[in-house]
């Protein structure tokens, strides 16, 4: 484990930001899992499609992982710690690479926490209501592991996006506006392009079967390509631009 990576992990652990994000994520996961597990009518919950939806509620961790990634870099610009950080490690790509690795790890932890919780609640709801599980073992494995991996990638995307935009509020607004508005419009009106956008590529990756989505392999590769491209852009820009 590199020294810079240890430093980045300490940065994540030493403020309450991450704990706040985890708390919000757990609360939302609980809320949506319980709502869909308890309030969905039994015949509706019998379909594989709807079971996938309920059991993958934990994929909302992607938003929180991206926010954590954004905080990890924009917090440094916002509070000025970017100056001592770059003074201690003037090879800036080394700092950014360590942050991306830390974003991946934080995202993975977020994904495991939220998706495991969502799966357990959903599974318990099905079992408690006597509804037959319509998914086989490999479908469930894809749902769980895919969500873990996708959430990790969103952590890296957050770091890259934050490094590109630098302004904390700007980066958060860009993430939410893209993820919740722009991408949904794109997918609704031009699904042939929208399915390659990161959120929908992630939906395909975890095995969701909405019409037009990519399959798991193509979705996983596409989301990985997005994470790599955004990370690379962030590293390049952070290395090139002056620090005030």
């Amino acid at each position: 484990m590199s020294a810079q990576f240890r430093a980045e992990l300490l940065k994540i652990r030493s403020t309450r930001t991450t704990l706040g994000l985890i708390a919000g994520m757990i609360a939302l996961t609980l809320l949506f899992s319980l709502l869909s597990g308890l309030l969905t009518k039994a015949p509706d919950l019998a379909s594989a499609e709807n079971q996938r939806g309920m059991l993958s509620v934990g994929s909302l961790a992607g938003v929180f992982a991206a926010l954590a990634g954004i905080m990890l870099i924009t917090g440094e610009y916002r509070y000025g710690t970017i100056r001592p950080t770059f003074l201690f490690t003037p090879k800036r790509s080394r700092v950014l690479e360590a942050k991306i690795a830390a974003g991946l790890l934080a995202g993975l932890i977020f994904g495991v926490l939220a998706e495991t919780l969502a799966f357990l609640i959903g599974y318990a709801a099905l079992a408690g209501r006597g509804i037959h599980l319509a998914l086989n073992g490999s479908q469930i494995a894809l749902l769980l592991l895919g969500t873990f991996a996708a959430t990790a990638l969103w952590g890296a995307i957050g770091v890259g996006l934050g490094a590109i935009i630098r302004n904390q509020v700007g980066a958060i607004v860009a993430l939410l506006a893209w993820g919740f508005v722009a991408e949904n419009l794109l997918f609704a009106f031009v699904p042939s392009a929208g399915r390659f956008a990161p959120v929908h590529a992630g939906d395909g990756f975890i095995g969701l079967t909405t019409r037009h989505l990519l399959d798991a392999t193509a979705g996983g590769l596409t989301l990985t390509a997005w994470a790599a491209a955004i990370s690379l852009a962030g590293i390049t820009l952070a290395a090139r631009r002056d620090v005030n």
């Binding site: 240890r6 430093a7 403020t15 917090g75 000025g80 001592p84 950080t85 003037p90 002056d242």
Partner: protein, 301 residues
Amino acid sequence: MERVEAAVVAESLSKRFGALLAVDNLSFALEPGTITGFLGPNGAGKTTTLRMLLGLAAPTSGRALVLGRPYAQLAQPALRVGAVLEATDFHPGRTGRDHLRMLGEAAGLPRARVDEVLRLVELSDAAGRRVKGYSLGMRQRLGLAAALLGDPELLILDEPANGLDPEGVRWLRDFLRTFTAGRRTVLISSHVLAEVAQTVDQVLIINRGRLVVETSLDQLTARVGGSVRIRTSEVEKLIAALRHEGIETSRSNDHTLLAHGTTSERVGDLAFAAQVPIHELIAESSSLEDVFLELTSDPAT
């Protein structure tokens, strides 16, 4: 002459921000072991120069070297150069100790070093508290502690006394004097000469991005003393007459000049002998700060 490798070098350093030439062809070299005051009014280009020296900003042209290399090419910069650019570069929700630990981790320093520098800047008791509860003086000291983590041979401080109360300024002065004493090279910027006059051995004065003067503090102090302000319609002629008598002058504008180290009687007599009309003649006693302000005032005003 013995060649000592300079600790800090600016070579025709320039930085342009759009239409503004913030640093304009600046060249200087600082010898190891010296304490230099980097002075100039706000907006003179001091911070921009320091950022270029520290690799945070890229020069538009020219070169900035610390310890013989561009900062980013130093092998372990944190062990050789310590710098504080802003007194407020902390996450408010992080403790002072964690701030130092995260930097120490990045530099591969032992954890015990964090407690050492905390003792050094007298922050051990507050180290476990979040920085948002720190006073400005404590933040300044925490910044200094971060700069000292790697026990560097070169210390660069940007306006370290800014916003400090007199007690804080005194603490900083005593600290720098005892701590650095001949073993380290120090570059301290300030827009107030008095803040650093008791600490530095030499000064580098810039204005509008250009070097105004590079001199020892002693030589600068020698300029302190009586001077006479004269307003006249024939500045050139009076300057020539005064210079002929060995009196140094500096010109303030088209109609006003200062004659240094002399008296109003002598200037009046010489002007009369040279047949120069005098519109105003004022005896002034200047302080070190006056000398500084005079050097950094714009000729147009």
